[in-house]
Symmetry: none
Subunit: 207 residues, 4 copies
Amino acid sequence: MPYRRTDRVEARLAGARERILHSARQLVADGGFRQAQIAALAGLAEVGIGTIYRHFPSKADLFAEVVSAVSAREVEVVTRIADSGGTAPQRLADALRTFAARALHNRGLANAMIVEPAEPAVDQARLRYRHALGRALAGILTDGIERREFPAQDVEVASACLVGSLLEGLVGPLAPTSRGEDSDGALLIEAIVAFCLRAVAFSGVRA
Amino acid sequence: MPYRRTDRVEARLAGARERILHSARQLVADGGFRQAQIAALAGLAEVGIGTIYRHFPSKADLFAEVVSAVSAREVEVVTRIADSGGTAPQRLADALRTFAARALHNRGLANAMIVEPAEPAVDQARLRYRHALGRALAGILTDGIERREFPAQDVEVASACLVGSLLEGLVGPLAPTSRGEDSDGALLIEAIVAFCLRAVAFSGVRA
Amino acid sequence: MPYRRTDRVEARLAGARERILHSARQLVADGGFRQAQIAALAGLAEVGIGTIYRHFPSKADLFAEVVSAVSAREVEVVTRIADSGGTAPQRLADALRTFAARALHNRGLANAMIVEPAEPAVDQARLRYRHALGRALAGILTDGIERREFPAQDVEVASACLVGSLLEGLVGPLAPTSRGEDSDGALLIEAIVAFCLRAVAFSGVRA
Amino acid sequence: MPYRRTDRVEARLAGARERILHSARQLVADGGFRQAQIAALAGLAEVGIGTIYRHFPSKADLFAEVVSAVSAREVEVVTRIADSGGTAPQRLADALRTFAARALHNRGLANAMIVEPAEPAVDQARLRYRHALGRALAGILTDGIERREFPAQDVEVASACLVGSLLEGLVGPLAPTSRGEDSDGALLIEAIVAFCLRAVAFSGVRA
DNA sequence: AATGAATGAGAATTCATTCAT
DNA sequence: AATGAATGAATTCTCATTCAT
């Protein structure tokens, strides 16, 4: 009878894949995709190079999965807020605020995820990320327009602009890197959220 | 007697340098930085590889200069509008509209200049680009706030968000690639400008 | 008490070993030695990779054994004919015809066994194969010369040439791949046999 | 005015390509395709690895050209004899004898060219080699049959068998590697030629 | 001053073999 | 005994930069 895979083995197996993904995320957060080489990744994850190729068909696939995983997590957070209760402006503010706080928390990763390009396959994943984020925000806008909580507007353009404002404001090179007392970025976030809400809302309506 | 550089030689030199820069811009516009290799550039510019290194110390410097040159031109256009007459909202709308139209006209170049990164040195140039663009817009905002044509707001954040809205809305992955009858993008531009003005203006005030 | 290997275990072991060899033969017949990788073999034989290394010290040894096994079978067939009754020319024609028919039946395997080389160790096995085949044919020739059924000739060279004619005519790159109505290759085989017999026989003597 | 390429430079340039091809041929002759690695080739040819890729698009192309070059030379020799004067049997004997003598002179290369496989692209070249050789011999046969110097026979099969006899007799593992006093292989060659002529000729007719 | 052949460090990927379970 | 995840040496190919002519 063939050997039965024990739970212990299962744990190690899953562990390797997770460890590789985790190390890859860390590598990207620290030095961008440019620094993320297979040999370096193997070293950080403490596995052999071959092990990486046992778990992922190619470097591009691996990093595309990193992007997808991070993006799925972030989009999920935003989507949950979009689907929650409250007025559309409230939900929009909440979504932007939460996304922003999370992005600021890991600037390196966010920066790589948003601006730094790499292999075409990875860029595809990043594109999907932005689309998904845009769709989630567009959902809030559409809903708000129906409920007359937002004025009629071009939802497609507005959601793209919201994403742009958010990303550029947060991690783009224009983002103020140090704002003195605003160490946790709370003020920065509120300023961005205010900008975004003004852009889509009736005047006077604030979340 | 030491070799005296004649005007004729100067002219040829300048010609080669310009031709290299021009070809580099074209190469980037067509295929992004990824496709912009020195050998390809030499072929397009019809100079030898060595000639490129006579005029530029390294590939990074060369492409940094490409970014700087493009960006100087664009920032100059925006700055001139910022310094012209009229109300701040009018000037802002005008600046955004003009920038947008130019960017749409050469999507490939704009995309590479804004989205696709490459060497750190080139990124530095792009950073300066965005900063300069942001400063020009911030100037209009500051001026408008002083004149009470814009409400008080965080000018630094707002200008970053304006740039982000503009870029993402125009050439980012979320930008609608084809909008049917809007072949020249006029409608798209107006929608973006409207978004931006709402974001920074008193309600009801439109350019 | 020391572990006693039971017949049951022996049977299973033999089963695995046979299954590996059989799958290896199939793999080689389908895609040549180039496609025959250990992991693929393990998959086809439905055993673990480690199991292969339990039965064979190395990949080279394994495939050398594949070659040996196939070759032993083929040489055995030819040898039996060589040792049967009849005139030498009859036996030679019979041997060539039988060998040819078998080779045509599994072109992929024959081709790999004869043409496509791989590891030196495998080549050794193939060398022994050809030698053995040559010896069997040389036996018929020697016998026939003694009985004056064949003219005196360099038996060693002639048997090598016979093998070469046979292999190149049948499965080499010059072999006609499809000959219209000759789907089973009967006509091709007869043409080759005729060539070979003319090459070693008295003129006018035909099998 | 751009630099004029001097003859000296031309010589070095042509020299590098030729040196690479020559070293590649030598590497193959010594250790077969298996030993012919790019790094080893660069070392032997005394050029950098990059230089090899400046002259050849890939390893496969390079070695395919090696095979083609060698084969073109050999086929040319045979073709010239095929097209020369004399009876068909004489020309056939002459062609086989000349080819054999040349092959024996560089056994290592001949062996690699004939039996050892490598990349598919290289195999393609070898296939063309055999076809070209077969066609040249088939030409002599067809001509000879028309002139009634050879009996009617299946020319396609016969030429394949001739090629097989020749190659197997010469460099196949059956070829006697050391034949005592026959150090230059003259006796071996004559034995092979005799075999081949008997196979295609009227009895009694000898070249 | 102009040229482009030459360079080689660096990066991704493959696959036979090992060994802990 | 059986397994298959893990390993890493080995190999091909790229491309910015140099330098003899």
